[in-house]
């Protein structure tokens, strides 16, 4: 009897341990309600609305000046460290450059496992051997690789559970995106807009790795939109989809933006609007069926990818409560759309731009005459790197402001016809920074509904780091000079900064452990974590 009781206690103890590890399972429900679990960071943008906002408030306007480094993790490669790590029940999971990945103790920074998938010789990412992070479900992590594979890794070990080839890397198909988990599928979008790929968005079954659907962002013969490409130009049309989208469970709609048509800066052989390049796509996540689209920059000639994070807001718009989608676009306009039907509501410039005189009531840009690239070169703003880029904006419901890292840089664009050759650069242009002009940048706080700028903080050069807002009234962002900066969300006053020694190419996250709030950001080859001093 006594023995049984001890045994029973043992079993119960075992069950409790089991219960704890069960809690470490990520469920779709947890991600759906990620905003209510601020101790963790469960999906790329923090939650499906992509606010990159946390209700953690331990770090606030009065104490942010006391922030202190807690640990530094070295990833073992230098350059553009773009990951947004996930934090799940005390463990931080990130991806690095060169197909690397790692799990670390989020309290100490000590590595738990490291993974690296070997890279074939000829992978062709346009802009660095980068990766932006994982998606998670159950005890699995999902990673999309530079050689265009999609992997499921075991959370405890980094072991590969399944591995599927999405496309042929030798044709310059590349993944840099952090996948998005929706229900039992993970969604990824391909990169390769500088190489004349045919863009696509894929969904894979998380259990088996089987592809459930593919949406080609360049429609094939017989499909609607195909007529927007002259001749055979659709075959090399680009329109990649390399930034993580957003999801509205109530509307069962996935919002995923697309990038530039190929070749990016010469349009002579791709007459037409070039659908669905530079667009917001609303897709059914179960089937991949297109619900609606909105094209921001038709027949683009300046590399104005729309691959910026779609921010989902519910707000009163002209007296009516509406479900909105806000998008600070690389072309320099901040757009508001109705996310139920894609209706265009407004567009306001948030940076200096010369390519368009404005956006018409139909949502189409009114192109400024003489802004097209010529053989001799035309100065156009924003430059090819855009008024903003892939790094995340943040929406703070307390201030009602959208924080956007923006650039002020103009380029001389010169375009020329170019023959496509599989696996090689296909851009049709040379663009260089306009000489004699000093490029700069800023973090801007913008009312997303009116487009009015509330404040800006000037950076010495164009930023490549995004923003995080928190309930403590503090916004965090990184600049290209290597500073992680804490701002007063209301005023833009800088409360604290730390020089991390290398340009920041990522957006911060926050999490909590043992009642302490942490802020984490990569820079150079290292990942840094900050917190207030332990009491």
């Amino acid at each position: 009897m006594k023995m049984t009781a001890i045994r029973l206690a043992g079993i119960l103890g075992g069950l409790m341990i089991c219960a704890m590890s069960v809690r470490a399972q990520v469920t779709y429900d947890r991600i759906l309600n990620a905003a209510h679990e601020p101790g963790n960071w469960l999906t790329y943008s923090g939650d499906y609305k992509s606010w990159r906002y946390s209700t953690l408030d331990q770090i606030n306007v009065s104490n942010a000046r006391d922030l202190t480094a807690q640990w530094v993790f070295q990833s073992a490669s230098l350059g553009q460290f773009e990951t947004t790590p996930l934090v799940i029940d005390g463990v931080l999971y990130g991806t690095g450059q060169d197909n690397r990945a790692f799990a670390i103790d989020a309290r100490t920074g000590r590595a738990i496992w490291r993974y690296q998938r070997s890279l074939p010789d000829k992978v062709q990412p346009c802009c660095g051997m980068v990766n932006r992070g994982f998606a998670a479900l159950g005890d699995r992590l999902f990673m999309a690789t530079l050689d265009a594979h999609v992997l499921a890794l075991d959370m405890k070990t980094g072991n590969v559970i399944w591995d599927v080839e999405a496309a042929d890397y030798r044709q310059a198909y590349v993944f840099t995106v952090a996948p998005l988990l929706v229900k039992d599928k993970i969604i990824v979008g391909v990169a390769g807009g500088e190489f004349g790929v045919r863009g696509f968005i894929d969904a894979y079954d998380t259990a088996t790795g089987k592809r459930v659907w593919r949406f080609y962002t360049v429609p094939g013969p017989g499909e609607p939109g195909h007529e927007s490409w002259a001749g055979d130009s659709w075959k090399t049309g680009g329109a990649p989809a390399w930034i993580t989208g957003s999801f509205d469970a109530e509307l069962n709609t996935l919002y995923w933006p697309t990038g530039n048509p190929s070749p990016s800066d010469y349009g002579g052989e791709r007459g037409g609007d070039n659908l669905y390049s530079n667009s917001m796509l609303a897709l059914d996540p179960d089937t991949g069926k297109l619900k609606w689209y909105f094209q921001y920059t038709p027949h683009d000639l300046h590399d104005y990818d729309a691959t910026q994070i779609p921010v989902l807001l519910d707000a009163v718009w002209q007296g009516q409560p509406r479900k909105l989608l806000v998008h600070a676009n690389r072309n320099g306009f901040l757009y508001v759309l109705d996310r139920v039907n894609g209706q265009f509501l407004s567009a306001t410039p948030f940076a200096n731009l010369t390519w368009a005189k404005g956006i018409g009531s139909d949502g189409r840009p009114v192109i400024a005459p003489g802004s097209e690239p010529t053989a001799e070169g035309t100065r156009t703003c924003p430059g090819a790197l855009g008024a903003t880029n892939w790094f995340s904006p943040s929406y703070d419901p307390q201030t009602g402001l959208l924080y956007v890292a923006s650039s002020e840089e103009c380029d001389i664009f010169s375009g020329a016809p170019q023959k496509y050759h599989e696996g090689h650069d296909f851009m049709g242009s040379i663009y260089v920074p306009a000489s004699g002009e000093k490029a700069w940048g800023a973090l801007r706080a913008i009312d997303p509904l009116t487009g009015k700028k509330k404040w800006e903080f000037k950076y010495s050069s164009p930023p490549w780091g995004g923003a995080l807002s928190t309930a403590g009234g503090v916004v965090f962002a990184g600049d290209s000079e290597g500073n992680l900066i804490a701002f007063d969300a209301r005023t833009g006053h800088d409360l604290w900064h730390m020089q991390l020694g290398a340009a920041i190419y990522s957006s911060p996250i926050t999490y909590s452990l043992d009642g302490r709030q942490y802020v984490a950001i990569p820079a150079g080859g290292a990942l840094f974590a900050f917190a207030l001093p332990a009491k």
């Binding site: 660095g128 663009y431 260089v432 290209s480 020089q499 340009a503």
Partner: protein, 293 residues
């Protein structure tokens, strides 16, 4: 699990290429379209793509992606590398010699070995030939008189260093005779504001633009003005080398203003300050500067 995937040099080249592909994306003509029959190891190898317009275009984009960080956007020289349009080839100007320099680098300098395919190297050489000028003949002036001007009346040495002697505010000139054309030097002397010289770039900032030799004035809260060249700057601090040859390391919160004047600290040497003959003498001295040898 941690296989080394590339030799280090390849990684550097890839990193540079990737960085510049975006900034300076350029029309790449397909490489395999060129048939390049022979390897270029022979000392008398000739560029099979010489004058080929498609190769020149390809070479220009390869140049911008891989070489421009040091040699400047238009091969006219950057913060670290010499002007490659001057027609002066200190490490050999034959096709085969330039091929070797690109492939093997220059030991003892910052020029690295590069791993281009042969056709790419030839395309680069075709591009460089297309932008090169015929080397100017010897400058008419007197080298010794030029040297006296440099250290004396014209006071160039107050801001420029040659073989360890001189000032620090402006670019170092020990190799300027092979690094810059006579035309460039003349422009820099007569109109230094026209194109500010580039300083070095930040290897951690892949999309960054190098700092320039630009006049920066820091105004302190008590109204003091310190003029110099910014060695670095961010939103919070300024690292200034002052006209007094001292570092002035400021926190911006201690400054009321930082003025960027978009002009060089160097005065424009007009005809009154430096007449035609004196200019020729000075150029004779500058073009004689070919390194430490």
């Amino acid at each position: 699990m941690f296989r080394v995937l590339y030799p280090a040099a390849t990684v550097v080249r890839l990193a540079l290429a990737r960085r510049n592909r975006l900034i300076l994306s350029a029309a790449l003509i397909c490489l395999s379209a060129f048939t390049v029959p022979a390897r270029a190891q022979q000392a008398d190898a000739k560029n099979p793509l010489d004058g080929n317009p498609a190769a020149i275009r390809e070479g220009s984009s390869l140049f911008r992606a891989n070489c421009s960080p040091c040699h400047g956007f238009n091969a006219r020289g950057g913060g670290r590398g010499p002007d490659l349009t001057s027609g002066l080839w200190i490490h050999g100007g034959s096709d085969a010699a330039i091929f070797r320099t690109i492939g093997q680098g220059v030991p003892g300098t910052e020029m690295p070995a590069n791993q281009f395919e042969d056709s790419e190297t030839w395309a680069l050489i075709a591009y460089l030939r297309s932008v090169s000028v015929k080397p100017a003949g010897p400058v008419a002036g007197d080298r010794a008189r030029g040297e006296r001007l440099f250290w004396g009346k014209s006071a160039c040495g107050q801001c420029h260093m040659v073989k360890g002697r001189g000032g620090r505010l402006g670019p170092e000139l020990t190799r300027v005779g092979v690094a810059r054309s006579v035309e460039y030097l003349t422009e820099s002397i007569r109109t230094p504001d026209k194109e500010l010289s580039l300083s070095t770039s930040d290897p951690n900032n892949h999309y960054g633009i190098p700092l320039e030799y630009e006049t920066v004035t820091a105004v302190t809260r008590d109204g003091q003005r310190i003029v110099g060249v910014a060695k670095n700057e961010d939103a919070f601090s300024l690292q200034l080398l002052g006209r007094d040859d001292q570092f002035h390391l400021f926190l911006k919160k201690d400054l009321s203003e930082v003025l960027h004047e978009r002009r060089s600290l160097m005065p424009a040497y007009t005809e009154q300050m430096l007449n035609h003959d004196e200019l020729q003498d000075l150029l004779a001295f500058l073009t004689s500067l070919r390194g430490w040898e």
